[in-house]
Every structure is written in C-alpha cells, then in structure tokens.
Symmetry: C2
Subunit: 336 residues, 2 copies
C-alpha cells in the first residue's frame, strides 16, 4: 500500500478522476467513494435532498425500488411511479406528474435495470425532467461505460456508478458526478451526512486526496481498467456492448427461449424467461459446475421465473457463443 496522503496517491486519484470524466462525458466534478454502488446511491440522496422534499421515483424493477426506498428512509416524501417489470418508464406519465405537481424537487431514475434487463430511454426522461427544471438523479451502476450516457448533454445532475460493473474492477468503489445544479442542491440539503459528504470529498480531491482512507488496491485496478478503456475508445466500447447484446438476444432466440422484457433490451444484461418444463436451480447449477459459467437467477417476484446473463465490461461475442453452446447442452439436462 502507498501513503494515501502522499504524492503517489495524488497522481493516482487525479489521473483516475480525469479518465472517469471522459467516460461520464462530463465537465462536472466526479468523486470516488469507498463503498458499493448502493452506498453511492445513498450518498447521492443524502447530499442533495432534505427531509420532507417531494421526490418522484421512477421504478421498473428491484434497483428502482431500492433507490426509492433509500430516499424514503432518509425522510424524503417519495412518490413512486411504478411501471410494469420488463417495461420502461413512460415519459408521458412522468410529464403528467411533473405538470400536476409543481412541488416535486427531484426525479430519481435507474438508467439500466439489472433485475429485468431493460434500459430506460434516459435521453427523453432527462429532457422531460429538464423541461420542468427539476434535479435529476441517475442510477447508472450497470450502464455507465457500456451504454451511451452523455451526462452533460442530457443534463443529468447526479450520476452514480460502481467499479465492479462496466469498469471491469473489483467491487468496493462508487463513482458519482455532480453538476452545478447538483452542487446547488448540496448547499441546501439538510439530510444528515458525514462519511458521504460531497463537499468534504471535493475539497480533499482538490489536493489529490480523499477525506477517509480509500480502497487503494481497487483504485489501482480501476486505473488499469481506465487505461484499457482509453485504448479501446468509448464509442467502440459502446458499440461492442451493442454487438454483444444483439448476439445474446439472437442466441436466446435460436435456443427457442424467449426474452423477459418486451422492449428496450439492455446491452449489459439479458433476462430470459425460464420455460415451464425447466428447473431453474438445476439449470444454474449445471451451468456453473459443468461449464464454469455463472448465470444469475431472478430477484424477488422474478425468482425461478427468469435467469440473467451479465455481459458488461470485459466481454466479447465469442464469450456469448460459449454461453449459448453450454446452454444448448444444459437445457435438456435441466428438465423438472
């Protein structure tokens, strides 16, 4: 380990921050926190909102629900707009709400919903939110660096992501961008905070430090990933994820399986309906033990109803072909 108050660390964190800004497509501040993605979501909320603030939470699955729950937990007056799992946020429903309720201060949304394999139309959502001049908080944990998210162009005030997703690093870091409007909200926010304090993090970053001892080894990993990402180029990475997503969906179709979402298929995770004659835990067990491929089951009400293939970060089309070949063999062995 290196001294996190020394020159070497200064270079490390400033270099990372610079590279992160490129991938966030932002001139805004980007802070790196020692925490899981959920810690990043909490940090975004407690730094920008006050107890009693009216907040509109757009949810299309588990992670939308979580974002909403955190805000409620800290005393925000949350109105949740739920859309059917497997579907997207309908911008017209959002607009109706914003038109009717001028007291809404902020809108929270999940860019890519990992639990259902759906990517929201963040461009349209953000246009609507900005039309009404509200603060926009975006959970981009499983999208950023894989799916296009031009933070500044779309006017996203707070964008949160995490090291273990598209960033190809071990878990343990959350990265958050904050716009000028975001900083205004920070200056007025009254939720209690200490560890997550953005202003403190910003003032330490200015001298090349973090307020608390950072996850140094994970920062080194992130720094290496960012170099790889620079070599490939953001546009190429986004295009590769689109190709990989397409290949996955085609493969699923060729296996005679069906996709869980009806629309807006994610390019980082594919959710597949489990046929009624297949035992999901048998399937996932065979895939893991026999083929060394870890698939995820469904969460909450989707348990045993879907399985999910993650394809973000260090993934290419050949990897998908291997998964499909394995699934082809494993499916007949997984009958109930």
């Amino acid at each position: 380990m290196i001294n996190h108050r020394g020159e070497e660390f200064r270079e490390l964190i400033l270099g990372i921050t610079q590279d992160l800004k490129q991938t966030f497509q932002t001139q805004n501040d980007v802070l790196t926190l020692t925490a899981s993605g959920t810690g990043g979501l909490e940090a975004a909320i407690v730094n920008t909102l006050s107890p009693g603030d009216r907040v509109l939470a757009l949810s299309i699955g588990v992670f939308g629900d979580r974002f909403s729950d955190i805000a409620s937990q800290f005393g925000a007056e949350v109105e949740k707009l739920d859309f059917e799992w497997g579907s997207v946020v309908h911008p017209e429903a959002l607009e109706r709400k914003l038109k009717r309720d001028p007291k809404v201060k902020a809108v929270m949304v999940t860019h890519n919903e990992t639990s259902t394999g759906v990517t929201n139309d963040l461009e349209t959502i953000s246009q609507t939110v900005k039309k009404y001049d509200k603060l926009l908080l975006v959970d981009a944990v499983s999208s950023l660096s894989c799916i296009n998210l031009p933070t500044d162009l779309w006017g996203c005030d707070i964008v949160i992501t995490a090291s273990q997703k598209g960033w190809m690093s071990p878990p343990g870091l959350a990265m958050v961008s904050i716009s000028e409007k975001g900083w205004e909200a920070v200056s007025k926010s009254k939720m209690p905070r200490y560890y997550w304090d953005f202003l403190k993090a910003k003032s330490f970053l200015e001298k090349g430090q973090t307020p608390w001892t950072p996850a140094i080894s994970t920062l080194y990993a992130l720094s290496s990933s960012l170099k790889l990402m620079k070599e490939e180029g953001l546009a190429n990475i986004i295009e590769r994820h689109a190709r990989v997503g397409n290949r996955t969906r085609r493969g699923i179709d060729e296996l005679g399986l069906s996709l869980f979402p009806q629309e807006a298929h994610s390019n980082t995770v594919t959710a597949v309906n489990i046929p009624s004659d297949i035992d999901s835990s048998k399937l996932l067990g065979i895939m893991r033990r026999k083929y060394n491929i870890v698939l995820a089951g469904g969460q909450q009400k989707l348990k045993d109803k879907i399985f999910r293939i993650g394809h973000m970060g260090w993934v290419c089309e050949e990897d998908i072909d291997q998964i499909m070949a394995a699934l082809k063999e494993a499916l007949p062995e997984s009958k109930r």
Copy 2:
C-alpha cells in the same frame, strides 16, 4: 471475481467472520462492511443511537473528535469530554459525569489514538461505563489485533476496526462487533440508515452473504491475513507489538529525541516531538526519498510539531532498527 451470492463467497465470508471473532475475543456478531474505518464509526452510531440521545464522547485527539463529530452530525446530544492531547482519558472524570448525569445513554471512546500515539486504559473505562450500565462504543481501528482488546470480557458493546491497520490488508473494509446490549440499542435506534443497516447485514450474513456487493478482492486479502494471524497466534502478535513498541521508544530515546505522549504509549504508533532546529517536511521528505520510509506528520494542531512512526501489523523489530538507522542519518540533514 466470484459471484457474491454463491457458495464460494459463502465459505469466504463465513470463514472470515469466524476468524474475526477469535481476534475480537468475542461470541458476539461481527459484521464486515464495505467502507473505510470512518464508515464503520458512522455505522456504529446510526445503528445504535437516536436523534436527541445524550452521549458522552471521550476525546484525546483527532479520532476522538471525529467520533464525536459524527454523532453530533446525526443529531445526538453529544457532551464531549476532552483530555489534553498526549494524555489519556481519566476514568475518574468519566465516572463523575456518569454519576451526575443519569440521562447519558452511551459512551464513545477511541481505544488507541493514532494522532497522538496514546492507548487509553479501555479496561478501566469499560468497567466504569458498565458500572452505570451504559452502552459502550469503541473505536478500535488502530488497536484491534495488535493491542489486547477482549471485547466480551470488558463488555464492549460495539467495537469498530478497519482492514488496513493491524489486519495487514488493503483499505476498504470496516469490521464491527455488536453485543446483545448493542442489538437492543439497534432495535430502539431511530437514526436514518440504509447502507449501514446492521439488521440487514446480520440477516444476509446468516445465509453467507452481504446485503450489497462486497469488496471481494479485499475480503480475499483479509482472509489470507487472518490465516497468517492464526499461525502466529493472538497472544504472540500482541507481544510482538509490545516488543516493537518498546524498541521504537528506546530507539527514539537513543537518538536524543523525546516522545510526544507523557504516558500510555501506544504499541502501534509512536509520536515523536520534532526538535526546534529540525524542519519537519525536510525530514519526512528525506526519509521518504532517500530511505524509502514513509513517516506521518502531525495532524491539525500537531502539524510540524510531531512526526509519527506506524508499527502495526506486518512489522518486526528489525524494521524498527532500519528506521532508527535512517533517522540517525536523516536528522542532521534536516536542519532548518
């Protein structure tokens, strides 16, 4: 990375938890959080206290102040008992307070104060706190696993430590033990929390998981460290730190320098007064560049007044001898 909802991770986290309990010398629950030590301190506070709770914060330096600040930030009614920097908490002063103010709910204390190089007499402090049946929160970030801290024997309700100190691992994990009385406090606590929720962490740990994606690579490091620690044995580790601490203090004396603390010298960090003819930043610079030894300066009001030698974890007496040999050469070169 491995699947943090799978069998491999289950074995990893349950093994770590078992080993941690041995070093904490406890039968209590021990939770591992993805955060810096400061996150662990915040977690301890927001899980056990409510806004308006009367809390006695015992401070002998920067980290005592920090623990107190966090509690204030979340709305506890904190009374701070400050003792001179370089000195210890005086248990009789604590007892006077507890006798006079029956409304005090909890006492917060730093076991080992890194900023001044002082170890509090936690045994006597805890006896006093327990005599008045108060909740005891202990910041053991820079003591646990190096300096004796029998959690159960001394009745410490909440004990917080962090991976990068005596545990010889990269930063990024905070470990917290919770007694039965601690859990009672959790059940009554009304401070807002989500990421830090101990009850959620406990229920996930029961199935070999963590609520949020954990810092897996750092957990692997911690698991390896715990194996090394088991081989050496806790009593031997504590004795080694005592020998290393003694060797350091003797070495400082032989160099004609003086220790900052008047008493209760820490066995994990030694604070040394900087002679008036020595330029502290010159000294630290020479030590770092010429001898590859990173010493720490003083914090806050001790800036440029002391330097500090950390000697916790993977340190033996020969390391100390090297530091002293380097200091002997560097000091004359560091005149103002």
